[in-house]
């Protein structure tokens, strides 16, 4: 009877004390995003669009990250970019350099994911949802990778390969919250489109919460 309660409070305590003990900082705030061009829709799903050579999401969202040189993790982190309902889910995926990204197919049809982007050129070939192991790629160069499907020409996805483990995706209103940050001086950046990345120098105190609105 008491056990679940006890367990829950124990976990809460542990996470709280962890943050306090290591003196980690938090940044929260809001990125000013450009206006969405399409009519408001009920669900907040978004897709990748290119217009005049600029790649962004519609409605716009930002990837906010803390830039500095961080050591690469010992074992490569994993991430997933699925294909579902003939879309990439999620269409904008930030990862740290050295991440292995899996591309599971959740549709009942073939997909053929490929990219011609400089940081990672690959072509996974056609595969069905039953394909095992799930096709994956290691992203070891920082930069922007645009994904296409040879069969479904409207499908587009972005993988943003970053040299930091501290990143997050804002919501469609631009609000973000980065937690578990080390103290020190850094540059806070917000990627909005392939053309626009805005930045601000920040100084983080141990255990503090910094409020930053960009720009």
């Amino acid at each position: 009877m008491h056990l679940p309660h006890a367990l829950a409070s124990l976990i809460a305590l542990a996470s709280l004390s962890g943050a306090v003990a290591r003196g980690q900082a938090v940044i929260e705030g809001r990125v000013a995003l450009p206006k969405s061009k399409s009519a408001p829709v009920m669900n907040k799903r978004y897709q990748v669009v290119t217009k005049a050579g600029i790649i962004a999401t519609d409605p716009p969202v930002a990837v906010v990250y803390l830039e500095a040189s961080f050591a690469r993790p010992a074992s490569p982190p994993k991430a997933q970019m699925a294909q579902k309902d003939l879309m990439f889910v999620t269409p904008l995926l930030p990862v740290q350099v050295g991440t292995a990204v899996e591309f599971p197919n959740l549709d009942d049809t073939y997909h053929n994911i490929f990219s011609y982007s400089k940081p990672k050129r690959f072509d996974l070939g056609r595969y069905l949802p039953t394909e095992r192991p799930i096709p994956s790629q290691l992203f070891d160069q920082p930069g922007l990778v645009t994904l296409h499907c040879d069969i479904h020409e409207h499908m587009r996805g972005i993988i943003l390969v970053l040299e930091t483990p501290h990143f997050t995706r804002s919501d469609t209103d631009g609000r973000f919250r980065l937690t578990g940050l080390p103290a020190g001086r850094y540059t806070l950046k917000a990627w909005i489109s392939s053309k626009t990345t805005i930045e601000r120098a920040v100084e983080l105190q141990k255990g503090s919460t910094l409020h930053v609105d960009l720009p």
């Binding site: 009519a39 669009v49 011609y116 400089k118």
Partner: protein
Amino acid sequence: MAMMLVVMGITAVALYFAERSVASDVQRSLRDEFQSEISYLLGVHEALRAALTERCRVLAKSVRIRAALEESDVEDLYAVATVELRDVLHTKDEPDDETGIHTLRARFFRFVDAHGAVIPPPREPGAAAGEEWETRLAPTGGARAEQQIGYVRATDAEGREVIHEVIATPIVKTDTGEIIGAIVLGFKPVALDGKHASSELKSGLWLEGLLHLPTLADATRTAIGSEVARAISNVSRRTRRNVTVPLDGMPHLIFAQPLNPDSQFPRAYHVCFYSLADALARQRKVQWQILGSAALLLLGGLIASHFVSVGFSAPVERLAVDSAKNLAQRERAEAALVLTEKRYRSIFENAVEGIFLLTPEGRFLSANPALARICGYDSPAQLIAEVSDPAHQLYVKPERFEEFIRCLATEGTVSGFEAEAMRKDGRRIWLSQNGRAVRDTGEGTLTLECTIDDISERKQAGDALLVVNAELEKALDDLKQTQQQIIQQERLRALGQMASGIAHDFNNALVPILGFAELLQLNSAILDDRPTALKYLEIIQTAAQDASSVVARLREFYRSRDHHEKFSAIDLTRLIEQAVSLTRPRWKDQAQAGGATIEVRTELAPIPAIAGDESALREVLTNLVFNAVDAMPGGGTITLRTHQLGGSAVIEVADTGTGMSDEVRQRCLEPFFSTKGDRGTGLGLSMVFGIIQRHSGMIDIRSEPGRGTTFVITLPFAQSSVTTHAGPEPAEAMRSLRVLVVEDEPQVRELLAASLGADGHRVELAAHGIDGLKRFLDGTFDLVLTDKAMPGMSGDQLASAIKQIAPKMPIILLTGFGQFLNPEDYPDVNVVAPKPISIPALREAIATALRAA
């Protein structure tokens, strides 16, 4: 003296006319010959070029090329494209022959960016920068949606001037319609002076005021430049005056043909030079012959007049007194006779065709020089002397000659008789022979008058044509294969998109159901207002029926419509009013939420009923209204109009929205063509089109960007054979029945009981097959209504069991798979009815079952 003057005058006039007619004949035949040659060559050119442009269009649609162009990395772009274009590019190890197949391969390719600048390919480090001509490969004036054909002057590796034929195809992003660049493929221009053409034809390209014709010396080229320019300006002004220029000391006729009239590239023209040497020689020869015969004639005339004046001066003087005019006339007649005889002789001697006379046994009586020349003999005399047996001496197959003689003897005339002959020097030639058997009226002897034509060249040209034909057929095969691949790819895509298409239509059907249901829930006042509430419920019911027909339509994806499909008579006015109220949540409430005000107007004329599938036509109208709403993001007016036109009803759905471009208008009925990005499936209008076609109707789209779109649908009126749907049949028509209902779903069972009870039937319920059979044995029934899929004993098994006990018992089988079942597979069941079943359908099923049993 006067006589001599008369003779000379006649001669001069005859000479003048003879010369005139010969000269114009020669020119006319030359022009015909020339034009037929040119039009044949241009036809070949057209076909090759159509193949090339189609190839480029397919390439520009490649997902990979588009993806590579979207990345701004030049090195990768060209690397990727080289792989994608491997079937199109000319490779070094292929033989560089001059056949048509070779010209189907590109010499090079370049990309053009969205601003219309050529993207230079990556160079090897240390290599020279690109040539100047490479920057001229893009059409001027920025990106355009159409393919452009151009000609670019360049220099090859050896520094020689070459011309590239380039085809620039825009690369368009399908979702936004944005032109992101173009791919330019460079080909070798199709040569008009290939080996098939006659040696007298020279052809080159006229580009930016300069002539490209490598076989011509530079000095000559400059010399004739202004004349060629004049010929070009004649073409652009559409005057048909011929221009001639001296070339190698010989006059040549110029013929120019625009190559890319509607292109943004500089204009280029095909220029052909046709030598007049042969024609002039022919004309001069004829002139000399005429002059010669005239001189002879004149001499004869002078001698005759002299003789007359000396020998018969006295009688002549008397005659002159008597009938000076008469004599002059006779003189003139005699002179004309001589002239005619000479002229015939001249034709015989100088004809291009071989002319000869044969005995019925096939020996030569006489022959003209042309025949001797064709057969390889020096003179007609030699031919006649040496050839005693033409069948064996001249013909490859002697029996052909014998057949010719036999035909002449029996038929009287023969024409176009083709045979292979052997010349004196052993060379084989093809002849076309014409002949006529002539019986001399005096002696009754038979003579065969024959002419022959050397058609070897024509035969060869025919063979060459066959080769070109084979090449074109191969090119066509290639194209067909490519097309097959595209169709295959399209099918794969369709498979993926079908699911979302059905979801789309289902959602459309759900909009009124959810909307009105919500309205009824939220606004309890409406529930008390009985007529309004009933109207809303009716709309919900109609929409739900449509949703179930969407599911039924799944079948249409793999099976064509049944032929015995029943159309009923439909009142268009009612249908349109239904469609307007069905779509109201979308054009009124949703549009208002988005800040737009949309007004829907109806202008409905009273018109007779049409024959059709009511739910399908309702779908057509709702689809068109939804499209109109989508086309008017800022609000506007939708007008639905009907009127009568001959034997058809015309429905117009007009909006005041954004309208469509010509290209969109032409393609909007294609499946999966959408301008709505992810919001549309591209299936709506293609389904509309399919439905209208099924109704033997027509659809016409009038649209102008910025002005709105009007869909005009024409449907034929109902014929008398159409079953009139007079609404539900009165329940009184049916007597009260004792019905056994076997159904495992409690709700469905209750619904059936309620429906049947409301019609005055007495109902007994059973929850499964065995229960049903037990109740059937215990009671007395007029009808059994059973579900198909039930645990234990299925509906059809129950039906078999009942039919063994009571073979005449009417049985109705209800099934959710009604559309997919074949009634013939269930011999013990009288009616197979789909589930869910409406009350009218249930009544009809009962009536049918009673009749059938």
